[in-house]
Symmetry: C2
Subunit: 259 residues, 2 copies
């Protein structure tokens, strides 16, 4: 019985969801933390977090790392991830393809997919340069910030895209606002050719080349990308695109799980 019925009434979170919030927090933090800190960072009740951390420790999903208190992702996650990797063993072929791309172009090659409603690098091979360019594996990045992002949402309708991509992800790292319809326009154009290239909007010195990897009856379930210094990128545009297209063909024929 509440006067403000539509107000969010401090809903109780489900244990499972909280648990995976904890895991994701640790994953993104990439460093151990104690339950107290986890609770305050993810905005969850301390008592809940203490209980859940206890359960996850018992399961081997988390591990004590310190003398005391601090916990981090546990070995069982490693085993589970391993089983995933083995089942969809596209990773082997994928690494071979990236290896070929990286040696051929001397640029950093990446294999990217969606992770929920974000973009993430799944596999990477750094280029053969004195100063190498690289990204974190698995770190979620707003879709509109990336070249691949234009391709990965190719099969959605306009309204699906607008529902799928969080509103705030159209705010670019430099603070400027990317009009969602402009983004969709770029995505539509990219979908036609299966290629998208631009000067990266997450920094000021790289140029990104993304090519769609089709599969499972969809136009783009993943992308292969090159990340190059801008001048090299401009100079070698055609060569890079050709290399990526060949790589995408190779990757398109192996079994990649659908996003």
């Amino acid at each position: 019985m509440d006067v403000m019925a539509d107000q969010a009434v401090a809903k109780r979170a489900r244990g499972l969801d909280r648990a995976f919030e904890i895991l994701d927090y640790l994953r993104l933090r990439r460093e151990p933390a104690n339950p107290n800190e986890i609770a305050s960072q993810i905005g969850a009740p301390r008592s809940s977090v203490y209980e859940l951390v206890g359960l996850l420790l018992r399961q081997g999903i988390l591990e004590h790392v310190d003398g005391e208190g601090r916990v981090y992702l546990g070995r069982k996650l490693f085993f589970l991830g391993n089983a995933y990797e083995e089942h969809y063993d596209f990773t082997r072929e994928c690494d071979r393809v990236l290896e070929g791309l990286a040696t051929e172009t001397r640029e950093t090659a990446q294999f990217c997919m969606l992770d929920g409603n974000k973009y993430a690098v799944v596999r990477m091979r750094e280029g053969a340069r004195p100063f190498r360019i690289s990204s974190d594996i698995g770190r979620p990045v707003p879709i509109p910030w990336t070249a691949s992002g234009r391709l990965l949402i190719a099969d959605m309708s306009d309204s699906e895209i607008l529902d799928f991509v969080p509103r705030e992800d159209f705010r670019l790292p430099d603070g400027s606002w990317l009009d969602p319809m402009a983004f969709i326009g770029e995505a539509r154009a990219a979908a036609r050719t299966g290629v998208f290239t631009f000067d990266s909007i997450v920094d000021s010195f790289t140029r990104c080349f993304a090519v769609a990897v089709p599969g499972m009856g969809r136009r783009c379930i993943a992308t292969v990308c090159l990340v190059a210094p801008r001048d090299d990128g401009v100079r070698n545009h055609d060569r890079y695109i050709d290399a990526l297209k060949a790589a995408a063909v190779r990757l398109g024929s192996i079994g990649i799980p659908k996003p």
Copy 2:
């Protein structure tokens, strides 16, 4: 109000525990399954499993794999496992060491640890033979069945060991019964030298060599092993042990997470 108070009264399982039961079931099965089948195999109520599978799908922890119904481990597990691997990046050095062992001895080299109260191969490098010997990564095996098992429980007291190792794990694959005290005796002897060698009891043609990797103030947090055909094993015993000891020294100096 129950007449039989000490009887297990069909306890309701916790969602989190059920969820990880599901994940482990899929991991060990190493193949997709539909919720119905999962429920019957792990002995859980169908309605619960359907709900949990739904939640895990939303989290990206499970993925639909089929046209319909069947699910398997999802990409998020891959990312989580990746973060674990990166944090404890002993895997890199570990692989190098195993590579060295495998080329030097031409036998299959393994890096093993405890997974809960079981033994599991964490990394492996197959030997350079026409017929290679290998194991599944991450598959839990009863501790008493393995050479490494003798070493991995080195720091426990007798009663801790008896509590830790499930009673039924002393039943060997050939049906014979390994006396727990005999096992402990072997373990104590092995702990003194840090070495254990025997003709494998899980098959009839291999000989196993295990050497303890100490760390974190404990005598054995992991093992390095060679799995060889019996005749080769006998012939090269000393050479293999020496190689393993050198490998263990290298591994002991890198940061390995405690079990």
